[in-house]
Amino acid sequence: MSDLPGVIGVNLSTSDTASAPPPAPATPSRCVEIHHERGQHQVFCGLTGIIWLHRKIQDAFFLVVGSRTCAHLMQSAAGVMIFAEPRFGTAIIEDRDLAGLADAHRELDRVVTRLLERRPDIRMLFLVGSCPSEVIKLDLARAAERLSATFSPRVRVVDYTGSGLETSFTQGEDACLAALVPSLPATTDTTPSLLVVGTLADVVEDQFRRQFAALGIARVDFFPPRRSTELPAVGPATRFLLAQPFLRDTAQALERRGATHLPAPFPLGAEGTRGWLQAAADAFAVSPATFTAATAAAQDRAERALAHYRPQLAGKRVFLFPDSQLEPVLARFLARELGMTLVEVGTPFLHRAHLAADLALLEALPTTTRLTEGQDVDAQLDRCRAARPDLVVCGLGLANPLEAEGLTTKWSIELVFSPIHGFDQAGDLAELFARPLLRRQRLAL
């Protein structure tokens, strides 16, 4: 379980995709070292995505077909007791299902029927595969087809997998959205329209909507929508921007529907947001003057908010454990906009094509960035302890033990659960990293 040597430079001129191994770079990159690591992963599985997806799509229910562990994960990770009526649940596979005493499909039909009777407000049901359902090869696609026929037109049933065997953490959202893409209505309209892909906080979505309107881009849709009945149409004139860096399969599925991906840095921080909006502006032939007029004020606000946190964060050394695949983007933001020093940037999975713009910005740094794809948590903890960074960004399982060792930590999960995208959240994003350091200073303990 050792760190595989092999420093692979990022060749930004090629359009490599994740499915194909990256071609050897013509000139080895100086500034981004990519290491691959295998070993114990300390990352949630894709089921966890349900925690935000079930709030985002207000008339959808997520039914995990799994074990007691799946149910326990969901309630432990989410603290779901705060929700009176979570729109997710688990159909727990029991001994009798495994022993063939009960027909799993018939059981599933029974559970779904009961559920939909109780929840007449549900218009879309996701059957979510788990590790156990994958291993016993329970065919949820067949089940979804059958149940869709039964409950159509009231309820549409869609399946995807959130299994930890296939997905880590945010990849669950990718799997969910990719499964929805075939359901998107087709359009042959030749007027270009913009699709923003990836769950965003409602408030951020509204901000972006206003910003695109100011740019003169009239036809903008967000995916996933807030209601399953408002699925955006997609066709050859669709241009899409990814709002999140973990949407490999969704992007491919959209491309298969004829849509065109607009490469861009991800909209975290002022620089990222500007680049992201610029990509849309370029695709929709927005004039530079209009772009400046539409974005200058917000960008200025973002710069001012960041200036407030820069003195607290500049020069501080940060170590990011892999969690949500947002890490390279966050690293770019922390290094370039706040002057932090990157000790190590972990990510469960690195999609080089989607991250090309962000990696290019990391390349432009005067220092070398160590990017680790995958994880061997014990080895990574050894490196972290040896480096004694000023701030460690890590998951909930590691945070308190590292604090107890005298390190200062930021829970990474909060970054997925907070509005952090866009100009007006740049300061909030910086604050999330400044707060643990500030707290350290305040406490006389």
């Binding site: 379980m1 070993g39 114990q40 992963h41 300390q42 990352v43 949630f44 599985c45 894709g46 089921l47 077909v65 074990s67 007691r68 562990t69 149910a71 326990h72 994960l73 309630q75 432990s76 990770a77 779901v80 007791m81 705060i82 009526e85 979570p86 649940g89 159909a91 727990i92 596979i93 029991e94 001994d95 299902d97 495994l98 009960a102 799993a104 059981e107 599933l108 559970v111 009961r114 109780r118 929840r119 007449p120 407000d121 590790c131 156990p132 994958e134 291993v135 299994s163 930890g164 065997l165 296939e166 014990d378 998951g395 909930l396 399982g397 945070a399 308190n400 033990p401 604090e403 107890a404």
Partner: protein, 572 residues
């Protein structure tokens, strides 16, 4: 397949983790996919333990399923032993690991490790967390103790003269409800009796400590859910008797003291004196820090507590805490127990027997919606339950105190807050009484309901409980569609819906309006106003009862008189 929205217990391997995490020098190698590592946060976040739990997960992925998983297991086990140097290794599989049938026990044995390897078979598709904890503790004890015991036929030698009696304390584990503080309190009792504590396990014990278990004269079992299997084996195999009383509450603590004194052959009198009913008079020269004295007996007899009399209380939790709470509620608070239940099916028999003592049928279920429906139906004045019942009670506007796992970060208070022993009884008195309204406060609210400063739903449960007054009332109505009690009516006046039907109602979104109940009926404006004077959480029922009464009596317009006729009718 079982539809679950929320569960009281985790999977059995989480129970095993609770044992491994409690102990020192044990490591657990778990054959599990990525994602199962979430279990670490139970310990590092909920319990705020400052170290990672001693577990290595293989985190196998889909690409390994072709045949690399067994190799991954062996590598993980070897690495874990090299890195953490445990004295004993637990090996097992989570639910997914179980399905791929790699036989972690066999694989670990094949490694030829120099430490004991304990394979765990936890039946993930059948069993749950507490069972997993009990089984793991039993397997550890059995594997480590068996080799040091004389042959089964050998009688236990009597204790040598002049040697102090000793016991082991079995049960305290990681992620246990107040285990940390209970342990301190029980140690105090044993110290005061002159009984030496030989080994505490699993909390804080090493595998080497477990081999010393047979040295004690007897075992104190604090949490049967975790320790009863191991204790029964020690009784059988090592001839050690085990205690059966759980010292929660004054009466039970008294019996516990008598039980351990009998097993140890010591005099219980000095400790029993501290459990007496009246506070000791301060005598001149008394030490300012006298040993803790039970305050519950006097506080409960003090006249301000008369308002507690007959308060209707609903109890749900693990078996140990639910049974103990019922006894305390009934005998030490003067409450009326109107419902008692548990999610621990393994202990259903004990809870049924306890419920029978209060003339009740126990509610045995792990479906919180069924519990919720029962609470709504019974309309208790206090709920003693888990964090889930706290949540339910908050929604229904009923005061609640938490008495049992599953654990929430709030269940690890910074202060010393045991449930067991003398201080435990004191803590419980405060915990249960504080959510209730004090006598005069309650009277004033009833007398002067119109006071503009009184909220729609007077409560000191906090803003959350009272803010959506109208919504809470609607919820109360929809949660108890046909339970026919008013505030003063006995619960048995109520024909109740079957739980499934009630649960179906509660599964509809809380914002859904209550189904229109009055078709041809109407209320006079005076009667509507009068209805508003009824406490909000029973108003829905009062409305339904009155309407039912009106229908049965062929009334079209409900007057104030009809309202009171209905009240009299249903409180027969």
């Amino acid at each position: 397949m079982q539809l679950t929205v929320w569960t009281y217990e985790g999977p059995p391997h989480v129970g095993a983790l609770r044992i491994a995490t409690a102990m020192q020098g044990v490591h657990y190698v778990l054959h599990a996919p990525q994602g199962d590592t979430y279990a670490d946060l139970l310990f590092t976040m909920i319990e705020r333990r400052p170290t990672r739990p001693p577990v290595s997960y293989t985190t196998f992925a889909a690409r390994d399923l072709g045949g690399n998983t067994a190799e991954a297991f062996k590598r993980t086990a070897r690495d874990a032993v090299a890195r953490y140097a445990p004295q004993a290794l637990l090996v097992g599989a989570s639910c997914t690991g179980e399905l791929i049938q790699d036989d972690p026990g066999g694989l670990a044995r094949a490694l030829g490790l120099s430490i004991p390897v304990i394979p765990l078979e936890l039946s993930a598709y059948q069993r749950k967390e507490n069972w997993g904890a009990a089984e793991t503790f039993y397997q550890l004890v059995r594997t480590l103790v068996e080799p040091v015991l004389p042959s089964p036929a050998t009688p236990r030698p009597p204790r040598a003269p002049g040697v102090a009696p000793s016991c082991n304390i079995l049960g305290p584990a990681a992620l246990g409800f107040r285990h940390r503080d209970d342990l301190v309190e029980v140690r105090r009792l044993l110290d005061a009796l002159g009984i030496r504590v030989n080994v505490v396990a699993p909390e804080g014990a090493t595998p080497a400590d477990l081999t010393r278990l047979p040295d004690a004269d007897f075992n104190v079992v604090l949490y049967p859910e975790i320790a009863s299997t191991a204790a029964a084996w020690l009784t059988r195999r090592a001839g050690q008797p085990a205690t059966t009383t759980i010292p929660i509450g004054i009466g039970a603590t008294r019996e516990f003291v008598e039980e351990v004194a009998r097993l140890a052959g010591v005099d219980p009198a000095p400790v029993l004196a501290r459990l007496a009913g009246l506070p000791p008079r301060r005598s001149a020269g008394a030490a300012p820090l006298a040993p803790a004295h039970a305050r519950l007996p006097w506080y409960s007899r003090s006249v301000d507590s008369t308002y507690l009399t007959g308060k209707r209380v609903f109890i749900f939790g693990d078996a140990t805490h639910a049974i103990a709470a019922a006894r305390m509620a009934s005998e030490e608070f003067g409450f009326t127990v109107v419902g008692l239940g548990t999610y621990a099916r393994e202990f259903a028999r004990d809870v049924r027997a306890a419920a029978a003592r209060y003339g009740l049928e126990a509610l045995i279920t792990d479906d919180y919606l069924e519990v919720e429906a029962k609470i709504a139906e019974l309309h208790p004045e206090l709920v003693l339950g888990t964090q889930m019942e706290r949540h339910t009670a908050k929604r229904l506007g009923v005061p609640c105190a938490v008495i049992s796992a599953p654990m929430h970060v709030q269940d690890f208070p910074a202060r010393y807050a045991p449930q067991m022993g003398i201080e435990g009884a004191n803590v419980i008195f405060d915990t249960w009484v504080h959510p209730l309204m004090m006598g005069l406060e309650e009277h004033l609210l009833t007398l002067f309901r119109e006071d503009f400063e009184f909220h729609e739903a007077p409560s000191h449960l906090g803003a959350a409980a009272r803010a959506p007054g109208a919504e809470a009332e609607r919820a109360a109505e929809s949660f108890a569609p046909s339970a026919a009690t008013t505030a003063s009516a006995p619960p048995d006046a109520a024909p109740s819906l079957p739980p499934s039907a009630a649960a179906a109602v509660s599964l509809t979104p809380p914002v859904a309006p209550a189904p229109a109940s009055s078709d041809t009926l109407s209320w006079s404006s005076e009667a509507e106003l009068e209805l508003k004077k009824i406490p909000f959480f029973v108003r829905g029922k009062a409305r339904r009862n009155t309407e039912r009464y009106a229908r049965e009596h062929g009334l079209a317009l409900i007057t104030v008189e009809d309202l009171y006729d209905a009240k009299a009718h249903f409180s027969r």
